[in-house]
């Protein structure tokens, strides 16, 4: 694209959805600027203007035009900067469909259930936990062996979408609430996550685990041990 491309991301450091977009920009070597939002209580006028439907981050602003919803943003980035590798999506329609299918599954089965588990109590929290375990078991079968990444040999859409959630998982190691997500129960996923975090793009973007922990601790969001 043109040398004077302006790429801005409305961000919140803790949002795993925003991390997806940042990882994609880093992987493709696209220059961007971050505008940090003060969430959840102090959303900027710009955010409310550019994402009136959801009022959420991430929002990508490319030459003044806003794009919202992380999965939509990732496909946009892949299409506009299709001359920059890696390609987030494969080139043939069938494999693209598979990638989109799994991206949708990760969003709905893994993320939605993880958020339910982290943010609710009682029966709803149990539901979230059950859904999360089911989803992780399915993803465990999709990677490993000769598949270094979900897309195969190279990082792709599904990897970028799933990896930010792993920094959240670390927090709960301190409270034992997430002991069901372990290397023993999900060896392929843990090996995959390690491989991802060895990449500069991912290690730069994933918030330091200690910072995540302190944030939750400050806001009293860590549950006490059962």
């Amino acid at each position: 694209m043109a040398k004077n491309d302006e790429v801005i991301m409305l961000d919140f450091w803790l949002s795993p959805y925003a991390r997806r977009v940042q990882i994609a920009l880093e992987e493709k070597g696209i220059k961007y600027e971050i505008k940090e939002e003060d969430l959840p209580n102090n959303k900027s006028t710009l955010l409310l203007q550019l994402n009136p439907v959801y009022k959420k981050v991430p929002v990508l602003i490319h030459n003044g035009k806003p794009i919202c919803e992380s999965l939509v943003v990732l496909e946009y980035i892949d299409e506009v900067w299709n001359h920059k590798s890696p390609s987030l999506l494969p080139s043939d329609p069938y494999h693209r469909a598979q990638a989109r299918f799994w991206a949708d599954y990760v969003d709905k089965k893994i993320y939605d259930n993880a958020m339910k588990f982290f943010k609710t109590e009682g029966e709803e929290k149990e539901d979230g936990k059950k859904g999360l375990i089911e989803g992780l078991k399915v993803m465990e079968e999709q990677v490993g062996g000769d598949r270094t990444y979900f897309g195969g040999d190279n990082i792709g859409l599904v990897d970028v979408i799933l990896v930010p959630l792993f920094s959240w998982f670390y927090v709960y190691k301190f409270t034992n609430n997430l002991n069901f997500v372990s290397q023993e129960s999900f060896p392929n996923l843990f090996a995959w996550a390690k491989k991802c975090t060895e990449r500069d793009s991912v290690s730069k973007c994933i918030p330091k685990e200690q910072k995540v922990f302190e944030h939750f601790q400050q806001r009293n969001l860590l549950n006490s041990d059962q």
Binding site: C68, V72, E75, Y76, A97
Partner: protein, 228 residues
């Protein structure tokens, strides 16, 4: 281009989306009618993760999830004569995908919620929420014949359930969400959409849709916790 099969049920609007997409592209296909109360081995093998319809099988390869299938159809059948479902420009494509997700996630859920809710404050609130959701679509269609412009596109196909299935839900839920007074543009769009070929060739009989939805609504209502 290879053999095309669609596993589906006619009452299901996600399945209708696929028929519309295939017909617009002029693709011949075989419809494999599925009995959802007795799922076939083929469905379970082709969509082991969700075991749901629709599933497109092309050259033996299965693709599931209606929005994913629509993009696959658009990418696979794209010679010069084929009508493009998604816009060409990446920004316009991003907008189409954004609104498609909004329709499939927010609209469907809020409309369903408004129908299922029983009388009282809960229902009022649910109806208000559904109207608010739909108001975003009214803004999007204003000044346009179709979401895709002059011709039906991807977003029209995704929103298509609003032009027919919605009225069945409104009847069962005893509510009115889209009418000419409240949403004139969306209402007009719905009439244009449902009366255009090939859309109107894939509409199931109303009594089948009624039966399909009322089963679901009764089930959900029966599962709701009793309120003191």
């Amino acid at each position: 281009m290879g053999e095309v099969k669609l596993i589906g049920t006619h009452q299901s609007f996600p399945c209708a989306r696929i028929e519309w997409g295939l017909k617009i592209k002029g693709v011949e296909y075989e419809y494999l009618k599925e009995d959802l109360s007795n799922k076939s081995d083929l469905l379970i093998e082709s969509n082991p993760v969700h075991k749901k319809v629709p599933v497109l099988i092309h050259k033996g390869n299965p693709i599931a999830e209606s929005l994913v299938i629509l993009e696959y159809i658009d990418e696979t059948w794209k010679d010069n004569n084929a009508h493009s479902l998604l816009p060409q420009n990446p920004y316009e494509r991003a907008l189409a995908r954004f609104w498609a997700k909004f329709i499939d996630e927010k609209c469907v859920i809020s409309v369903w919620g408004a129908c299922v809710a029983q009388e009282g404050e809960e229902k009022e609130k649910a109806v208000e929420g559904a109207i608010e959701t739909l108001s975003h679509l009214e803004k999007q269609i204003k000044g346009k014949k179709f979401f895709g412009g002059e011709k039906i596109g991807y977003l029209d196909i995704v929103a298509g359930w609003l032009s027919y299935w919605l009225s069945v839900l409104e009847e069962l839920g005893e509510i009115e969400l889209v009418n000419a007074e409240r949403f004139p543009c969306l209402h007009e769009w719905g009439k244009n959409f449902i009366n255009t070929s090939p859309i109107k060739d894939c509409i199931p009989p109303r009594e089948d849709v009624l039966a399909y939805f009322s089963f679901g609504i009764n089930y959900v209502r029966s599962m709701a916790p009793n309120k003191a």
